[in-house]
């Protein structure tokens, strides 16, 4: 069963690639984060197709899509929604915000004020939101893709390290290859077409896969030990001030399970963890200031290369 579903996921990736030239890796990683029930942070320059990616995922999986463009005057209620007084009935009526969608793209999250950010992050963590004393459950599945611009620093509120931990993975899309870019230019943007594609999966199926990943993929004690070794290494590394949290360890495990599922296995192998380490670890740990200029992914890779894989 996992074989066929894993295959199906790969089919989706293949299909969407035709719309997202040269973004296979990003797409795959996004789906891993999604099926691990986590959220995704994309750190990239504008105009590289983040929105297209989010739309593509939501459409292919048959999920609803909402978008929040963050500015410094964005209010929490702009995200969560609010109750408006109805003159006819004389009652307050709740108008849900964009967060009540399955897939929410939060553009340039570091432009929003900390107050707004925390409202969003609470929703991400708890999968529910409290408005005017009333708690609303968010839709299932719930997946946030937040983006931030690494270059533009003026007038931004960078996410605090503790909040970064709430994102399961942080990826960047990067420039696409010359060939792919040429194709994009010649064919024009196909975003419009994306809106009309038929969903390849029902939301029930999506939820089922999420459950399967969690319950049916086996992570052996050897793998657990491997994860604990990694966690321990980040905590004791000379490059790192604060190592992985327990939540980080959980994220390593659940993303690895999803990765295994994608590869048609129902058990985790060390490669599942290693492949994703560059995306699951750097944003969760605090590097020492003196290594600020060094590529963070490189440091993580060097740490992992010191750890004996089980086998």
């Amino acid at each position: 069963m996992s074989e066929t579903n894993g295959q199906k996921l790969n089919d989706i990736i293949k299909f969407l690639s035709s719309y997202l030239h040269g973004k296979d890796t990003a797409l795959r990683l996004s789906l891993v984060a999604f099926f691990s029930k986590g959220h995704l942070l994309i750190e990239d320059l504008p105009g590289l197709g983040k929105t297209t990616l989010a739309i593509a995922i939501s459409k292919a999986l048959g999920l609803s899509f909402g978008r929040i463009q963050c500015t410094s005057d964005l209010l929490p209620t702009d995200i969560t929604g609010l109750s408006i007084y109805k003159k006819d009935s004389g009652e307050f009526e709740f108008h849900p915000g964009p967060i009540f969608n399955n897939i929410v793209l939060v553009d340039e999250i570091n432009r929003a004020t900390p107050k707004t950010q925390s409202a969003l992050l609470e929703a991400m963590g708890e999968k529910q939101t409290t408005i005017e004393g009333k708690t609303y459950r968010l839709s299932k599945p719930f997946f946030v893709i937040a983006t931030q611009n690494p270059v533009e620093q003026f007038g931004t509120f960078p996410l605090p390290e503790s909040q970064m931990d709430r994102f399961m993975m942080k990826i960047s899309i990067g420039y696409v290859s010359r060939e792919a870019e040429k194709e994009i230019i010649s064919g024009g943007s196909r975003r419009e077409e994306l809106y009309s594609i038929e969903p390849m999966m029902s939301s029930a199926e999506v939820l089922q896969i999420q459950r399967d990943v969690k319950e049916k993929v086996y992570s052996s004690s050897k793998i657990m030990d491997y994860i604990m070794d990694i966690v321990g290494a980040t905590r004791s590394s000379k490059f790192i001030l604060a190592g992985l949290s327990t939540r980080g360890a959980l994220a390593l495990n659940s993303t690895a399970k999803t990765n295994a599922y994608f590869n048609g296995r129902d058990f985790v192998i060390p490669e599942d963890i290693k492949e994703l380490a560059e995306h699951t670890i750097p944003h969760r740990v605090i590097f020492r200031e003196e290594y600020d200029s060094v590529d963070k992914k490189e440091i993580v890779r060097s740490i992992i290369d010191q750890i004996a894989a089980p086998a």
């Binding site: 052996s220 050897k222 129902d266 060390p270 290693k274 290369d305 086998a311």
Partner: protein, 661 residues
């Protein structure tokens, strides 16, 4: 076929033939280990069955029905049970085992039949240990370990595929492994030999009471019964001691004081002695005696033994010592002797040794007349000397052939034939002394010994058995008298000279060390080893300076212990490796031989993806994907799967061979 072909690595050998050949070899080794003790009938039966089995296998196409085999086996076992007595259990059991083995040979053999052959062979070897435990046992033991290890490996191949053929190189590898296992088993055997707790008495001795016991030494001497004595060359005991002059080599065993006209017996050995004798004067000699099993209980010591150290030893006034029961296995005891030919004694006690048989044939009066004419008016020591001179003077000849078989042996010896063995001389002497009113008695034991310079000990064979006389001389006590003409007692022994003698002594030395170190290794020695080790640890520097030999021995022991500990750790570590880890390691080793090494941080798939050679990569990927199914699911790999994985490893190894070609 040329013999060269045998060495060719590409020669293919049929596993079936190998298994058959080695199985016969195993059976024969088991048979040889007991063949010395089992009856000739059974030995011949076994040999003829084996020959028939080989013939049947190679020429005849005859299958003997299993029911017939079963009935024969059953009958053999029943026969063995019937022949068993409480005193004799081992030999009948071994004999029927031999017969069973022969029957097994004849049978059409399957896996379990081969295993039965091995089991019977091991039983035979174990049984042989109950009969005799000499160095040969070790030889049989290690040959069996080696052969069985190797053959069981081959047998598993055979049971998988009866038509399987092996390359000679593979077969050699199996042989090599079996040798290795045997070699490893040696230090382990020694280790367990040293540490396993021992009893001071063998537990299984009750099984073979009558199995030993032919002897030149007896506890009674009967004259006129046999005309020829056959010289028995087997060594009865060995004595570790310094070399002494030949004239002192009287090994005291028993004192015979009662004569009924034909037979001397030991009646009044005296009370069990309470105190150690302190009235003897002479050179003290310390001896360690290694006594072979013989059907009696007397301990031998250089004349006069004053002290024998052995559990529950019984000591008597006449300086004889006895074991609590008959000696049925090799034993070792320590003895202290004082070299003296006299032994103070109480006259009242001595006077008990004037007993003479009831003279119903009228022989003794004639002897008394003779004694009177020899002694004349002499008294005491002079009378003794006169009688000794009479027998030694040349009128009498020493002989162990054609001795008088008679109702009146003594008379015949003294007056007619004038030749005989030491028993006749001693009897005549003692009787004449008693007739002259001088207390006298016979002492049985051994005279002489071959000193083995290599081992530093005397060998005393059965043929040196001897009887001499002790006469009581007032004021002096018991004096040893040698009535047998000088030198004759031992001059019958033609000592082999030169190389053969050297070889004989050398082999005997090995046997001696074997029994000194192995057979007599007991609880006491274990405690000693522990004790000396502890002492050595307590004050090592002091000991080192004091005794170089001891220091060397101690350090050797410590090194050996450390080596064993190391070996044990390695073995345990190896054992802790699960089959999964083992097969993974052998996989990595196989791939490693192609130059691909997995770094410890690499995952398996990652590693495999890096292999350049597409064939090896394909094999490796197959292995990894199969292996991971179990390994990362925390599942045990089943036997079949392990085999399949091992096949892939072999395939990977073969690829190397292909490349080399």
């Amino acid at each position: 076929m040329e013999s060269k072909n045998l060495l060719n690595a590409k020669t293919r050998l049929k596993v079936e033939n190998l298994v058959k050949g080695f199985s016969y070899a195993i059976g024969v080794v088991g048979f040889l280990s007991v063949a010395r003790d089992t009856g000739i009938t059974y030995n011949l039966l076994f040999i003829s069955l084996s020959v028939f089995a080989v013939y049947r296998e190679s020429r005849l196409n005859l299958v003997i029905p299993r029911w017939a085999i079963n009935i024969i086996s059953f009958l053999l076992i029943a026969l063995a049970l019937m022949r068993m007595t409480q005193d004799n259990m081992v030999v009948p059991a071994l004999e029927s085992l031999i017969a069973l083995l022969g029957v097994k040979f004849v049978e059409e053999k399957k896996f379990r039949d081969y295993m039965q052959v091995y089991a019977i062979s091991i039983f035979l070897l174990a049984g042989s240990a109950l009969l005799s435990l000499d160095m040969l046992f070790l030889t049989f033991f290690f040959s069996l370990v080696f052969l069985i290890t190797m053959t069981v490996v081959l047998l598993t191949y055979y049971s998988e595929d009866s038509a399987m053929e092996l390359q000679a190189s593979t077969a050699i590898k199996i042989v090599y492994r079996a040798v290795l296992i045997t070699l490893i088993s040696i230090p382990i055997t020694i280790f367990f030999f040293i540490i396993l707790p021992r009893t001071n008495y063998p537990l299984l001795n009750f099984l073979n009471r009558a199995a030993t016991g032919m002897s030149g030494f007896t506890d009674s001497i009967t004259l006129g019964e046999i005309s020829d004595i056959f010289e028995d060359n087997t060594v009865l005991f060995r004595v570790k001691m310094n070399k002494v002059d030949d004239k002192f080599l009287y090994w005291r065993g028993i004192v015979l004081d009662h004569f009924d006209g034909r037979t001397w017996r030991s009646m009044g050995a005296g009370e069990e002695q309470k105190l150690w004798r302190t009235d003897l004067r002479g050179v003290r000699i310390f001896q360690s005696v290694f006594l072979e099993p013989y059907n009696n209980r007397y301990f031998f010591g250089l004349d006069k033994p004053t002290y024998v150290h052995y559990p529950k030893v019984k000591r008597f006034d006449d300086l004889t010592f006895r074991a609590p029961e008959n000696v049925m296995r090799k034993i070792k005891y320590d003895a202290i002797s004082i070299l003296s030919d006299t032994m103070p004694a109480n006259i009242a006690e001595a006077n008990k040794n004037l007993q003479l048989p009831f003279d119903k044939l009228g022989t003794l009066s004639k002897v008394k007349e003779l004694a009177g004419s020899i002694v004349e008016n002499r008294k005491g020591e002079n009378a003794v000397n006169a009688l000794q001179h009479y027998l030694n003077s040349g009128a009498f000849r020493y002989s162990i052939r054609g001795m008088p078989v008679s109702k009146k042996p003594l008379e015949e010896f003294l007056f007619d034939r004038k030749e005989g063995s030491c028993e006749y001389y001693a009897s005549a002497m003692a009787v004449m002394l008693r007739l002259s009113g001088i207390p006298a008695r016979l002492v049985g034991g051994f005279r002489g010994g071959d000193y083995n310079d290599i081992g530093g000990y005397y060998m005393v064979p059965q043929k040196y058995a001897h009887v001499w006389v002790e006469a009581y001389i007032e004021g002096k006590g018991w004096k040893r008298i040698e009535p047998t003409p000088a030198g004759s007692g031992i001059s019958t022994v033609k000592i082999r000279k030169g190389f053969l003698r050297g070889l004989q002594f050398f082999i005997d030395s090995i046997n001696y060390y074997w029994s000194a170190a192995v057979i007599n290794y007991n609880l006491e020695k274990q405690i000693n080893i522990v004790g000396s080790l502890m002492k050595a640890f307590k004050q090592p520097s002091l000991r080192l300076s004091l005794d170089k030999g001891e220091a060397a021995r101690t350090s050797l022991l410590i090194i050996a212990t450390a080596a064993f500990a190391g070996l044990l750790v390695i073995l345990l570590k190896r054992k802790r490796q699960s089959p999964e880890d083992k097969i993974l390691n052998s996989f990595l080793a196989a791939i490693g031989k192609h130059g691909y090494r997995k770094s410890s941080s690499e995952g398996l798939e990652e590693f495999v993806a890096k292999i350049r050679d597409p064939h090896i990569r394909k094999d490796a990927a197959t292995f990894v994907s199969k292996f991971q199914q179990f390994y990362y699911r925390d599942l045990k790999i089943g036997k079949d799967e392990l085999n399949r994985l091992a096949d892939i490893i072999t395939k990977v190894k073969r690829r190397r061979a292909d490349l080399n070609r």
